[in-house]
């Protein structure tokens, strides 16, 4: 099966919105090289469960491809057209299982030494797309807040080393009101600028009570889904012929209902489950879960407000034991978790800065329960240190 043979009825297995999208652009889909098209279909088949910015980006990309002249089209896709694929790949059901195709394509590109050529084609395409489809700035400047170090009594090591060159370090922050103040700040933004999935609160432990205007994801709330997932993984491993790739494919196909998640907001439920099924280490370390969830929320939902609170993760044990999810009491590693979260805060900032409007974005990171914080914003002096007394509320307010 090749793209030129595509017909609308072949997409009957797609959800309704996705089917409509494919119908609208079937002409241009037929012209795309097979090394490219399933990447696009992987997004399209999930269209009904995507966040608004993802939907918009896909529609814009398809509209752009549709608007290209024949000559332009050939130029844009030239690199992909030169990738040689095997008959086995062509025979895969890449319409209904595009993600599996992409996984096998990746393996094929590595083994046939075509990965670099694919990378070059992909980078060139992305550059052209970025130029052709201008990203819109957010409705208001983004604010990212990261809270690290929960449960740490004292820590003498350096913190925020990666972030310090980009903003101001405060060593005497009055944090009596603590997390509650920060939750108030993000809730106020959510109420003043309501939009679907625009204001998030991610917690690596048990989420504190928060305003329903916030989109909330917490490690604790996914405990039963996590246990169900680990049980499935253990069962899968014992099956004949099951290998890492097959397991990965199987996990990626799991839906919220498969892990016992009660039906609710399907877009958000799918996102939550994907954090466990598609993340690496998210099933065992809460710090990894919080960082990966923040990364994916930023990449996919592009929130204008994101509060991430790291919690202590379990102490390292052999991986097989960690994955067994035994009911024995879990020993925690607060200091190790602080180091994880310190790096996680840097990644949260980096990922926020990859989004449109980065020059106006602001970021605050606070060592929970301690008087240390960092602020980064368009008007914040860079690489500075302040020992003046301040409060979390004032710091947050100063950023937007």
């Amino acid at each position: 099966m090749l793209p030129r043979d595509l017909k609308p009825e072949l997409f009957s297995g797609y959800p309704p919105e996705a089917r409509k999208l494919v119908d609208n652009y079937i002409g241009v889909l037929r012209r795309l090289p097979l090394s490219f098209l399933p990447n696009l279909l992987r997004e399209a088949i999930e269209f009904d469960y995507r966040f608004p910015p993802e939907r918009k980006a896909l529609e814009q990309e398809l509209a752009n491809l549709n608007s290209l002249s024949a000559e332009q089209f050939a130029g844009w896709l030239q690199g992909f057209a030169q990738i040689h694929l095997s008959a086995a790949l062509e025979n895969l059901d890449w319409i209904n299982a595009p993600a599996q195709f992409v996984e096998q394509l990746s393996s094929y590109l590595w083994t046939t030494h075509q990965l670099d050529a694919f990378r070059t084609a992909a980078v060139a395409y992305a550059e052209r797309l970025r130029t052709a489809v201008k990203a819109e700035p957010p409705a208001l400047p983004r604010l990212g807040i990261t809270v690290i170090g929960q449960g740490v009594e004292s820590y003498d090591g350096p913190l925020f080393r990666k972030l310090r060159p980009h903003g101001a370090y405060y060593s005497r922050v009055d944090q009596e009101e603590g997390l509650g103040v920060l939750l108030e700040v993000v809730a106020a933004r959510a109420k003043a600028n309501p939009a679907p999935y625009a204001h998030w609160y991610v917690d690596g432990g048990r989420a504190a009570p928060s305003d329903p205007a916030l989109t909330t994801v917490s490690y604790s709330a996914l405990e039963s889904a996590r246990a169900a997932l680990l049980a499935k993984m253990r069962a899968d491993i014992g099956r004949p012929g099951m290998g890492p790739e097959a397991l990965r494919t199987h996990l990626a196909q799991l839906r919220p209902v498969d892990l016992g998640v009660s039906p609710g907001d399907e877009v958000l439920d799918r996102f939550r489950v994907k954090m466990l099924t598609e993340g690496s280490g998210t099933q065992i370390f809460s710090t990894t879960f919080a960082q990966w969830t923040a990364r994916e929320a930023l990449r996919r939902a592009q929130p204008i407000t994101l509060l991430v609170r790291f919690a202590p993760r379990q102490r390292q044990r052999p991986m097989n034991e960690l994955l067994s999810a035994s009911s024995e009491s879990t020993e925690l590693d607060p200091i190790g978790s602080l180091v994880d979260a310190d790096m996680g805060a840097y990644y949260n900032w980096l990922n926020q800065q990859r989004l449109p409007g980065a020059d106006q974005s602001a970021f605050l990171v606070w060592f929970e329960g301690h008087g240390h914080a960092m602020a980064i914003g368009p008007t914040t002096p860079r690489g500075t240190t302040s020992s003046s007394k301040t409060t979390l509320r004032d710091l947050a307010r100063s950023l937007f």
Partner: protein, 386 residues
């Protein structure tokens, strides 16, 4: 659809090499190799028949910012202060193959970019350095050994190449497997030493090939099962167990070609930065321990060249397609560009070489040092070491 954008790969690799050189010049007082005359004293005075080589590879590289860059040097005090000043250091070792640990180690050991399934129990398709060494030099099986981290590496010692293969490879010890057999699965006290392959922690391929058996422990290493178990209890990680076994091998059998693959750093795949840093610090310490062991063992002192190199790098923070230190999936310049140090008699000390070499150059270099002909290897001998 989202694709990441980067600068030209070659520019990045050159920039990386330049940074490493500058870090080492200031941090470890190294000289730039291109300013020196070609070496002519390599291994002078070391008789060929006594020459030995120890290779340490890391499964899972560490990035410069956690190692050679100023902020990372605190994690590698032994490399910076003890080993690098005595070594010839290559800042730009490029791996153009598949970035999976088993297949990349197989590529290092064959001098050919292997394309075997990273997660299957398969031998390399091209002759390994051990087969060239043993066949060309007519060495017994006790003269070539591999100490490797997980079950997945059990076929690394011997290819399935028609002209080489069966009976010509290295002995392979999988210390974790050995320990599992020794305790017969009855104790949890050793769990921290039997950690998994972090790239795919749930899977361990079935064993096969010429694997070292438990009963050989006492016969070859002069180590009782009880002593092995007792000593293992004093260790904190799988790589410590590997180094312990390697040292025992050196003491009892003194192989001329010893290859150790470490793996603790690869805990990074679980996404916990603090554990990744712990792995780097432990590996740094273990490398220094191995060099001290080489210097203190009469069979090795003064006639052994030690090579240390990661199999490849890790993703950069700047590539939005990856997730920083956690993986090596982007195929970007940082994940492909690593380093190598060589240390031993006849090797220029305290010299940095910027020119790019490839992972596949290791086997031809070992061939030139030890006197065998790796005729099917794709790489070239590194002239600066000969």
């Amino acid at each position: 659809m989202k694709f990441r954008a980067t600068s030209a790969e070659q520019d990045l690799a050159r920039q990386l090499a330049w940074s490493r050189r500058e870090f080492l010049r200031t941090g470890a007082a190294m000289a730039l190799g291109s300013t020196l005359l070609p070496g002519g004293t390599a291994l002078a005075g070391v008789r060929t028949k006594k020459r030995k080589v120890v290779v340490i590879t890391f499964g899972g590289g560490a990035r410069d910012q956690e190692t050679f860059a100023p902020e990372g040097q605190e994690n590698i005090p032994h490399l910076m202060r003890e080993l690098i000043p005595q070594s010839a250091f290559f800042t730009q070792v490029v791996n153009r193959g598949i970035l999976g640990h088993y297949v990349a180690t197989a590529s290092l050991a064959t001098g050919v970019y292997e394309t075997i399934n990273n997660f299957a129990s398969l031998p390399p398709e091209n002759p390994t350095v051990f087969e060239y060494f043993r066949k060309d030099l007519k060495r017994p099986s006790t003269d070539a050994w591999v100490v490797a981290p997980s079950n997945g590496f059990n076929r690394i010692g011997e290819s399935n190449h028609r002209a080489y293969g069966a009976g010509l490879g290295a002995n392979v010890i999988l210390p974790k497997h050995l320990l599992t057999a020794a305790i017969s699965g009855r104790s949890t006290d050793y769990d921290h030493l039997i950690r998994d392959n972090y790239e795919s922690p749930l899977f361990a391929p079935d064993l096969g090939g010429s694997e070292f058996q438990l009963q050989q422990l006492e016969m070859m290493l002069k180590l009782s099962v009880d002593d092995f178990k007792s000593h293992a209890l004093t260790l904190s990680s799988p790589d410590e167990l590997s180094v312990y076994v390697a040292r025992r091998l050196m003491r009892q059998l003194a192989p001329s070609l010893l290859w150790i693959t470490m793996h603790d750093i690869d805990i990074a795949h679980a996404g916990a930065y603090s554990l990744y840093i712990e792995g780097i610090r432990r590996t740094d310490r273990l490398c220094a321990e191995m060099w001290k062991a080489i210097q203190s063992e009469p069979e090795y002192a003064g006639n052994t060249t030690l090579f240390i190199l990661p199999d490849f790098g890790r993703d950069s923070d700047g590539d939005s397609g990856g997730n920083g230190f956690q993986h090596h999936r982007t195929g970007d310049a940082l994940s492909r560009t690593t380093w190598m140090m060589a240390i031993g008699p006849g090797i220029r000390e305290g010299v940095v070489y910027d020119r790019p070499v490839q992972s596949t150059d290791l086997v031809p270099t070992l061939g030139s040092l030890l006197g065998f002909s790796p005729s099917l290897a794709q790489g070239h001998p590194v002239a600066e070491l000969l």
